[in-house]
Amino acid sequence: MLYFIEQCLNGVQLGMLLFLLAAGLTLIFGIMDLVNLAHGSLYMLGAYFAATFAEATDSFVIGAILALIATFVSGVVLEIIAIRPLYGRNHLDHVLGTFGILIFFNDLVRLIWGPAGMTLSLPSEMLNAVQVIPGIYYPVYRLVIIAVALAVGALLYFTVMRTRLGMLIRAGASNREMVGALGINIKLLYTLVFGLGAALAGFAGLMQAPILTVQIGMGENILILAFVVIIIGGVGSIRGAFVASILVGLIDTIGRAYVSDMLHSVLSASAASTLGPALASMLIYMLMAAILVFRPEGLFPAATR
């Protein structure tokens, strides 16, 4: 039981990271109708920036803040130079163009930081484990990830639903020409949204960095998970992305923890240990395929389309 609760916490933590990544992806997709495969590159950039700045300033927090700003700026520059001409093109062009950007960033990072990975070490107080409920000790840092991501999620939801900027963003999603005709600078709005998405992706990357190593291509696996999340949640819906993130995080983590054991009870030991991990990795894709077959628009289809 204690193990189960711990696994659930791990699942929620993975889910929250996925949410940071998926929120940006779904905003960019929902508003600009852009399939952005380079989103994982911004995640990677965030981690590299944080590792570099943290090393230079000798502070994790200052490094993280500087990295956030740096990924936001990178996102804005990327949008102005490379992404802007892709708006309004078909999805195949998006896939191709942003795939090119992904290839570019992988080699750019290798050029700047070298082929070896980096590590980002945490301040010592984050390394401890605290007792969350009697009998369960959980690393502080993972709790911090959950809390910070929840706060960012709440802030994002508030921004999109309750502020003027959010109103413009939602308006832009439903009818971009009309928003433009009403005198809103839609180009600037798109650039801001892309920068925001980039910062969120970078944030996810730098939060994940101390747990995994910072390396080239680190965004490629998790990008696909983020796509799974936005497809399950319904493209363009932040609420859907939130629910689907936690769902995917929980299923993936708990699957990895339990599928092998469950198979042991029905299959021989060797078959179970072979099949288990593979099946666990496949679970979320099965979930997504099932949802797409039965609810082709995802769980929370955006009301705007």
Binding site: L37, V95, G100, L102, I103, F104, N106, I224, P277, M282
Partner: protein, 315 residues
Amino acid sequence: MKTSITPRNAVAAGLLVILAVLPLYTSWTGNVFAMTLFTRIIIMAIAAVSLDLIMGYGGMVSFGHAAYLGIGGYAVGILWKEGIASGFVQWPVAIGVSALFALVIGALSLRTRGIYFIMITLAFAQMVYYAALGMDRYGGDDGLTIRQRSTFAGLIDLNNRTVFYYLCFAILAGSIFLVSRIVNSRFGLVIRGARSNERRMRAIGFPVFRYRLVCFVIAGALCGLAGALLANHTNFVSPAVMFWTRSGDLMVYVVLGGLGTPFGPLIGTATFLLLEEGLSRVTEYSGLFLGPGLLLVALYLRGGIDGLIGGTRRD
């Protein structure tokens, strides 16, 4: 079809002639490396031709096509490991299993449209990728080294580089011919019609779903054959061949060469792989040039290289 000498035909014919006489050049100069590279180009071009059938002509943007490369490769690898080295068994199994996977994947995926189709095909490819990753007996993450190429009862010796090269070349030529026959048949017209206007095709009375599914299966089977060739070429198969970026590569080859054109996939594959090879000799960071190049192709090169050499395309 009227055949006349246009820039497009000249380039295609030129490329075929170069490929046909390449072994003469390499045996004369002893350049084994060029032979290996071009064998790879030809095999990847077969995969690209199969993707072009569904993506270019059928409008089905599959982001999981590399899965069949892996399935075909693993069919060869697993059968070899279990003691069956005969190509007469291995290759039909590679084709058959790929077709079966394509049938299941297609039957579920083709209910969706647009971005959802792109993502669901990707999801299935990832499933196959993780399944291969979990096969400990067949190497798992490390992949499977296949110590023996497929045997054909002494009729064809794949260990002979030149023989293997010409076999691949013949299969490529056959694939291009097959695909161009398919797309110009009544069946192909339905597939192309459904790409332009699905609703209208259905209104005329065509069961679009079934036509598309058959097309999807043909493409999967052909790509599975390419996978069997690739496994024989590298004597190796690993899950990495099915990772989603590999599917992305295949899409790049097709679009770069020219979507929905007979020779586009070959031209695109050859261009990309040669460029990659050439750049890697000059710089360690070829992606810095290839990446922006791809973006420019996506933005400004409508119709790919084929469009560039042939001017505007009707269709």
